[in-house]
């Protein structure tokens, strides 16, 4: 029984991690049809921001929840202005340019921080479920995933900014006619997605630490989750994160984490073969 509880928590945790690392990418892809292949490095950037602001005296929760997304947002702004905005509407070219950005950022991390793993300790103590110890921070991650997803839903559905963004993405001409500057909308959407990436990086720091090459692991999973989910930001990400996270964690428990990861990848390919436009391309259409 205790074991079942522990496994359920671990499954929820795996789903939450997938949802968190994918959220920023999903916003940018779902709204703008841009795939940011440097997304993984944006997360690592968030991690470094959290670690170093914490080292210089910022309280840990502020470092994770404020400094990290801020770093993501500022960097996202710079990247959008310098690179991405020249490439809108050219999906493949943006992918290539951001892939270059990913390599460059990774190289820059190495030059600045060196090739070591740095990290911060989890601010929450472990707790006991029956005979088992559980990482208390896992629950924080689950909670944050819920907050981020609910927040995204609320912003997209309930606020004017969300409405304008959705309108501008679907009918740029229309939004322009109503007096909204679509270039601005695109920019802020990209910044928002980048901030989410930074936030995810910050939140995950106590678990994974920060390492220059860490982005590759994030982007592969985020990319796969988002594409499998399809174009709907919240429901797509949630649906695919749930399926893939479940598959991953079940196989990890049954065998090893490698089998888990390979099972996740195979599940994604099978899903794409059945549903070539992602889960929300077929079901849950017209959802946010």
């Amino acid at each position: 029984m205790d074991y079942a509880v522990v496994v359920i928590i671990e499954v929820l945790y795996a789903i939450s991690v997938l949802a968190l690392i994918s959220a920023g990418l999903a916003v940018i892809f779902g709204m703008m049809r841009v795939i940011n292949l440097a997304h993984g490095e944006f997360l690592v950037l968030g991690s470094y921001a959290a670690i170093f602001s914490n080292r210089y005296g910022v309280p840990i929760y502020l470092a994770i929840l404020v400094a990290a997304p801020l770093a993501g947002a500022v960097w996202g702004f710079i990247v959008e202005r310098l690179i991405v905005r020249w490439l809108y509407g050219r999906l493949i070219n943006t992918m290539l340019a951001t892939w270059g950005l990913s390599l460059a950022m990774m190289g820059a991390f190495v030059m600045i921080f060196g090739n070591t793993q740095t990290g911060i300790s989890a601010p929450i103590a472990g707790f006991t479920v029956g005979a088992y110890q559980i990482n208390g921070y896992n629950l924080f991650i689950i909670a944050m995933a819920i907050v981020v997803m609910a927040g995204l839903y609320a912003v997209m559905k309930g606020t004017r900014a969300g409405l304008v963004a959705r309108a501008a993405m679907q009918r740029p001409d229309m939004a322009q006619a109503f007096g909204y500057n679509t270039s601005q909308v695109y920019m802020w959407t990209f910044v928002a997605g980048s901030a989410l990436a930074g936030l995810a990086g910050g939140i995950l720091t106590p678990i994974f630490g920060a390492i220059p090459s860490g982005g590759a692991n994030y982007i592969a999973k985020a990319f796969i989750t988002v594409i499998t989910g399809g174009a709907s930001v919240v429901s797509g990400t949630l649906a695919s994160a749930s399926i893939l996270g479940l598959v991953y964690q079940i196989f990890t428990f049954l065998s090893t984490s490698v089998v888990g990861e390979i099972a996740l990848l195979i599940a994604a390919v099978v899903l794409l073969r059945i549903l070539p436009t992602g889960i929300t391309g077929r079901f849950l259409r017209n959802r946010v």
């Binding site: 050219r90 999906l91 950005l101 594409i227 490698v258 794409l272």
Partner: protein, 338 residues
């Protein structure tokens, strides 16, 4: 007749390069650059002419290397390994291609599937350190890869290994041959139909071309060529590791191709040679990080030279020389793909 002349001309230019390059660089360095060039040629064909952006060309490259090593160890006949290095990647490419093209996956989804496929191979190969992972008498070796397999020999003398100079000339002759084969393919009705598909898939279908089949065939050819590159690399390095399947390797192939110029055949080859050499040269003095430089190169190429170096230089030259503009199928799709 015109084709005949072009073949002759290409071969002559190829031979000039083959004999001129060793004056600049060691045979040893040139061999690996030639392997890279063949690899770039494969993506140049698949992407530049077939319009298939494969993020996982490294998968076939790695499969070629592993197929060679495993077959060579088991049979002790390296030339059977060479054959395996062509066939196995081709078969795998055919299966993967059929799955994608008959499933009608669009651009992005294809990118995901090829990327995931490479990742699976990479992750799997990295877990094969245990003794249980062996094919015949060949241990897969996991992260450390497979060292010490028999390498190619001169066919007329099985104890005389192709090594250093002889390996270089063999590799370069292969490059010339493969370049010519791809040229001929592109001149054939199949090749023209392929370019037609790249330009407008629907139109090609409405003309009666079986787009799914043609793309699968093109993808298979690309896989076979990448496999040959992997085999040359294995013979050069005398060790193969799962790194051949890595994301870094995949990205390098794309960078070579885009910087050199997708939509040409010479462009990717030149891109691979120049950037491959840059990487080796950078190791001789560690100042800037290599990834950093490659990344900047890629961003700059996408932003400022979307057609690649080779086509840009080519059009500049033809403008300057007042010659008749070469009849070249320009690659416009890339800039508006999406």
């Amino acid at each position: 007749m015109k084709t005949g002349r072009e073949i002759l001309l290409t071969a002559i230019v190829g031979f000039i390069f083959m004999f001129a390059l060793p004056l600049l660089l060691s045979h040893y360095t040139l061999t690996v650059l030639t392997a890279f060039a063949i690899l770039a040629l494969s993506l140049g064909f698949v992407w530049g002419y077939g319009g298939i952006l494969c993020f996982g060309q490294a998968a076939f490259y790695g499969l070629g290397g592993y197929a060679f090593a495993v077959a060579a160890i088991n049979t002790q006949m390296p030339w059977l390994g060479f054959l395996a290095a062509i066939l196995i990647p081709a078969i795998v490419a055919a299966l993967l291609g059929a799955m994608m093209f008959y499933g009608r996956l669009s651009d992005v989804y294809m990118a995901v599937v090829t990327l995931v496929f490479t990742l699976i191979l990479f992750k799997f190969m990295n877990t094969t350190a245990g003794e249980a992972y062996r094919i015949g008498s060949a241990r897969l070796g996991g992260y450390n890869g497979i060292p010490g397999f028999p390498t190619l020999t001169k066919p007329w003398n099985p104890t005389d290994y192709l090594y250093n100079e002889s390996l270089y000339y063999f590799a370069f002759l292969l490059l010339i041959a493969l370049y010519l084969i791809v040229r001929l393919i592109l001149k054939s009705p199949f090749g023209r139909a392929l370019v037609g598909i790249r330009e407008n898939e629907l139109r090609a279908e409405l003309m009666g071309y079986d787009v799914r089949l043609l793309k699968t065939v093109a993808f298979t050819i690309g896989g076979a060529i990448a496999g040959i590159a992997g085999c040359i690399f294995a013979n050069w390095a005398e060790i193969i590791t799962p790194n051949m399947f890595s994301l870094g390797q995949s990205s390098e192939i794309i960078i070579w191709t885009i910087v050199g110029g997708a939509g040409t055949l010479a462009g990717p080859i030149i891109g691979a040679g120049v950037l491959g050499y840059l990487k080796i040269a950078l190791g001789e003095n560690s100042g800037l990080n290599n990834f950093f430089i490659m990344g900047i190169v890629l961003i700059a190429a996408v932003l400022f030279l979307p057609r690649g170096i080779f086509p840009t230089v080519q059009s500049l030259l033809s403008r300057v020389s007042l010659g008749r503009p070469r009849q070249r199928i320009s690659r416009r799709r890339r800039s508006r793909a999406g």
